[in-house]
């Protein structure tokens, strides 16, 4: 007898919202240029909203070409001294920053969740702690570059223009700024349009740490702000995390210049479950792979490849587990899935889900009550998906999982690799030799075996193929910010 309906929940958890009364956001934020908060030359501002309530949190400045130019000039000026500081001094600044992030962790976590919609338990337990850890990690490298590259002389590149996405705002900032500064570069960083606030709090942290003016400049704004950075002749390097389309735009735009690039782009990563897998933990891994941060994760395990012999019972388990996910207020400590980051992104997700239905895939969404205001999407899994379906090929960047089946390890590899992307992959099996064989054959920069979506400053991250190039994290993460002679 099969009992396929997920058991009902016994007790409702009373709301457990994180308190927000111990700090105050400014009404209007200026740009952070040359160590000061200054009004934008553009005289333009935009509202940043809480996607869970659609309420305005603050107004931030829109940097135009002139503002970007001011930022680059400040960074260029600062580069002359910052790059000449002893590595040990740069290290101390970075250690300081790491500590201040830890001290202000709660405030940063709450603002991250309010501005971006992610569950507080994720911003509290993942984003902010790992951001602090990144500064701590790269601080230690700053005075050890001659040990990192024996026989070579390592010198910084110059002014780095860094453009980051809205899915892990402070964490992506840390991934970009920490190695750049450790290696002696100065930076102009543009946070995403919808999630600028923690970057502005980070600017305050730079002031608290007494970081020399101009070493870090934060230009908030819109896509034209980023375009101005990409086009700026005095930026030596562009580091970008975001969509493959924009990555390609950056490649085109910088063609013929001497700008160096690192690109961390999209993905359509396969999470592969074999019939001998630890099934209950695999279910958790699939859930974490696709529903972590509402699926707004470049390395999200958005394609489930499950061995055909266990597909039916495995999907039963998965659906039952999905019914346990708590969708709602990002600031509630029990929320598993928060708000979709923006109205635009919600629209994109809805279009993809429509296409999945139209193309004939079978949809499952657990019953869940979504709040009236704000941007929400329920956890969704498609089964009976074919390789040719759009939902199996294109990055949705939302809580939507596409399930395909395979029969043999060779077929699993062939299907997993059948994509222009190559960011990550997951393998679930109890057989050690099979893990290593799969890891060898999957075209992906990160392979999680019997786990998924783990991140650490010591661990390099980045893609194969159209998922970009260059690595962030670890020893390898130093390369993009150094010239070796």
């Amino acid at each position: 007898m099969a009992v396929n309906t997920p058991p009902r929940l016994g007790f409702e958890y009373a709301p457990a919202p994180e308190a927000t009364d111990h700090f105050q956001l400014a009404g209007v934020y200026k740009l952070f240029l040359d160590g000061e908060f200054v009004a934008p030359a553009s005289e333009q501002h935009l509202a940043t909203i809480n996607p869970a309530t659609e309420e305005t949190l603050a107004e931030v400045s829109v940097a135009n070409e002139a503002d970007v130019d001011r930022a680059v000039k400040a960074a260029r000026k600062a580069f002359a001294t910052w790059s000449k500081l002893p590595g040990s001094t740069r290290a101390r600044y970075l250690f300081r920053i790491s500590r201040i992030i830890q001290e202000r962790a709660r405030e940063l976590a709450i603002v991250e969740s309010m501005d971006g919609g992610k569950p507080i338990k994720e911003s509290r337990d993942v984003d902010i702690p790992i951001a602090a850890a990144h500064f701590h990690y790269y601080a230690g490298w700053a005075d050890k570059l001659e040990w990192a590259f024996p026989n070579r002389k390592a010198s910084p590149i110059g002014v780095a223009g860094q453009i980051i996405p809205w899915n892990f705002p402070l964490l992506m900032l840390a991934w970009k700024i920490a190695p750049a500064l450790a290696c002696g570069n100065t930076v102009v960083l543009k946070p995403a349009r919808t999630t600028p606030l923690t970057a502005l709090l980070f600017a305050q942290i730079c002031q608290q740490a007494e970081l020399p003016p101009g070493v870090v400049n934060i230009v908030t704004g819109i896509s034209s702000t980023g375009a101005a950075m990409v086009a700026h002749p005095d930026i030596d390097k562009i580091a970008f995390t975001g969509s493959t389309d924009v990555g390609k735009y950056i490649m085109r735009t910088t063609a013929g210049t001497r700008k160096r690039l690192t690109l961390e782009l999209g993905g359509k990563s396969a999470n592969i479950v074999f019939d001998d897998a630890p099934l209950d933990q695999a279910v958790e891994g699939i859930i974490n792979g696709i529903f972590f941060n509402q699926g707004h994760v470049c390395c999200a395990g958005s394609r489930l490849l499950v061995q055909e012999s266990i597909a039916a019972p495995f999907l039963d388990k998965l659906r039952a587990r999905m019914a346990r996910l708590r969708v709602g207020n990002p600031l509630d400590k029990n929320t598993d899935i928060g708000a979709i980051n923006s109205a635009d992104q919600l629209q994109t997700i809805k279009e993809y889900v429509e296409s999945g239905i139209t193309e004939g895939a079978e949809i499952f969404q657990p019953p869940c009550e979504l709040p009236k205001r704000g941007f929400w999407f329920p956890p969704t899994v498609f089964s009976n998906v074919s390789q040719s379906h759009r939902i199996a090929r294109e990055e949705i960047f939302g809580p939507v999982l596409s399930t395909l089946t395979f029969r043999t390890p060779e077929e699993a590899v062939a299907k997993a690799n059948n994509t222009p992307y190559g960011l990550a992959a997951g393998i679930w099996t109890d057989k050690g030799s099979q893990i290593l064989w799969m890891a060898q054959h999957l075209n992906a920069g990160v392979v999680w075996a019997n786990t998924y979506n783990r991140f650490d400053p010591t661990s390099p991250f980045g893609g194969y193929k159209e998922s970009g190039f260059g690595r962030e994290g670890g020893w390898h993460g130093l390369h993009p910010y150094l010239e070796l002679h």
């Binding site: 390609k248 910088t254 783990r454 159209e466 970009g468 670890g474």
Partner: protein
Amino acid sequence: MSAVRSTPPKAPELDIRKTYKLYIDGKFVRTESGRTYQVAGGRVNAPRGSRKDVRNAVAAARKAFDGWSGRTAYNRGQVIYRIAEMLDARRGEFVSLLGKGPAAEREVDQAVDSLVWYAGWCDKLHAVAGTVNPVAGPYFNFTFPEPTGVVGLIAPEEPALLGLVRHLAPALCGGNVIVALVSESQPLAGLVFGEALATSDVPAGVVNLVSGSHSELLAILAGHMDVNAIDVAACNDSEVKQVQLLAEANVKRIVRSDGTHSLEAITSLMEMKTVWHPIGH
């Protein structure tokens, strides 16, 4: 009267000239276009490779990739060392193609050196460019380099042999497969290098050598969606820009190595793969 039959003085033997061919998929082939252009002071008709030759070369390279990248590092090192042996064995022909004299001798020596140097890196680069990463949790985590895939190489005009070899060797060392445009003005040494490859246990398709007009073929190679990386070392700025503009279509890696021996010459054509696994029981 006895006539003395005089044998006419023996005329010098006529040269057996070599027909120079492209080297694609382990075979020496005429360009499918049937075109040639004159090199070596007009004495030699070199094949003028076409769009389809490049296409065939990329297809052959892709087909060879799994096999070559799947070889053990030890084996790849031996095969590359074998190329050095075969090059050295044909030293006379190369020296003569390169214009004879000490400079030509030196160029062949350096090309052999380069192959030997990179041969030795095959089974060491993982130890130097790979890492074990002490993540803050119960996971074993390591990073190791893997070949990028099909590499397009635009060899410098000169040195015609050394320029090709010292860019090709690091790419091969990392396990990549290669489609190279040999020197346009002096293609013969590059094409004959194919003969050294053909006799050195290099599997068919791993290295493909095409001669012809760089300006014609560059765009084909740079735009090809199954080419993963391009080494533009020999390109001028406007050619580099042309490659960069085309490379975005499939996010090609663009490498500008200067040909000096370095670990980065190898790793710049490699991808870093990081693997996580829980530590438990």
